[in-house]
């Protein structure tokens, strides 16, 4: 374990990280329901082979992955592994969940064009609602992240994360 990078969290920070964790506990129910509805859409005869379905599933799996990664990072932050790279890691996971939630909403509307039968339409509507609940959760989680890092630090880590996946400027 890279002990040279280790950071110490004070009691206040630990409390705020626990609040973040508790919010992800609430989110778990939303995420599990969303993924189950998406499995239902995937096995549904009218939508299983619809255009956009493969990418819609891929985006959904990345939402689940982003939440899980965030929780994994919080678990690791309560150990001696807590460090600057781990702080960046947790912000990356949150941004993953957010980014792919945007993609999922776009792709769902592409899939929806294929669906005409009432049961399928009802399912699409339920997924739309579940994606909105997911957005609300991610917003609430972002507030917890702000409280934990402090707004400026959170934004600066987000900027670093974005820079690390952008072509550097010349010179």
């Amino acid at each position: 374990m890279p002990s040279s990078q280790s950071m110490i969290m004070n009691a206040d920070e630990q409390d705020r990280l626990m609040e973040w964790w508790n919010k992800t506990e609430e989110a778990k129910i939303v995420v599990q329901r969303l993924m189950s509805l998406i499995t239902e859409l995937r096995v549904h005869p009218e939508s299983s082979h619809a255009d956009g379905m493969v990418l819609f599933y891929r985006a959904a799996s990345e939402i689940s992955y982003g939440y899980a990664g965030m929780r994994g990072c919080i678990r690791r932050s309560f150990t001696s592994e807590y460090s600057e790279p781990l702080r960046k890691n947790i912000v990356m996971c949150h941004s993953f969940a957010h980014k792919y939630s945007v993609d999922a909403k776009i792709l769902l509307e592409r899939v929806a064009k294929h669906v005409t039968e009432p049961n399928g339409l009802q399912l699409i509507n339920r997924i739309r609602d579940a994606l909105m609940e997911n957005d609300a959760m991610l917003n609430e989680i972002a507030k917890k992240a702000n409280a934990f890092f402090g707004k400026e630090t959170f934004q600066s880590i987000q900027t670093k994360v974005n820079q690390s996946i952008t072509l550097p400027s010349i010179g």
């Binding site: 189950s36 509805l37 499995t39 096995v43 799996s61």
Partner: protein
Amino acid sequence: MNSTFFEWTAEQRDSYFTAIDAVLKKGMAAKEVVCSITTGFRSIPSIRTAPGLNPYHATVADIGYGFDAARGTIKRLRQGESISLAKEMLVFDLDTLRISEKQIRPNFELVENWAQPDTSYLIELSKELNGQIAEIINEAIRLGQAILGPEWEIIRTRIQNIQAIPRL
């Protein structure tokens, strides 16, 4: 004809759900830590563009999805929702986890070749947790097969059409 849980007693149904959900729940912490480590690989210069990292990441996400989806379906059924394709959904998610479990090791072996000594603890931890996840997937499938009996295989044959849709 839709396959339903109607022919089962409430007790049978509940024990099926309780058993599978309990097994999957045991694997949640492992999958969370594996997902977090995989995201961390994106910041490690020697690994971030390693061949194999993208398919490994996709497999890890597939597994995360499968756990969440199956648990979500069980929760919906327990809350009394009637889902006509419930058995298909559960067999589909659990059997797809079986396929992902087979993919995870070869994909990770590619990534491993690029690790430096300072990341070896993350590699070792991932391997250990992937091993735990594999056991949990196999246990959940064994339970599913035990409870559904010959119906498991019949449903599995039906859902193969959907499994055959490429997932990248």
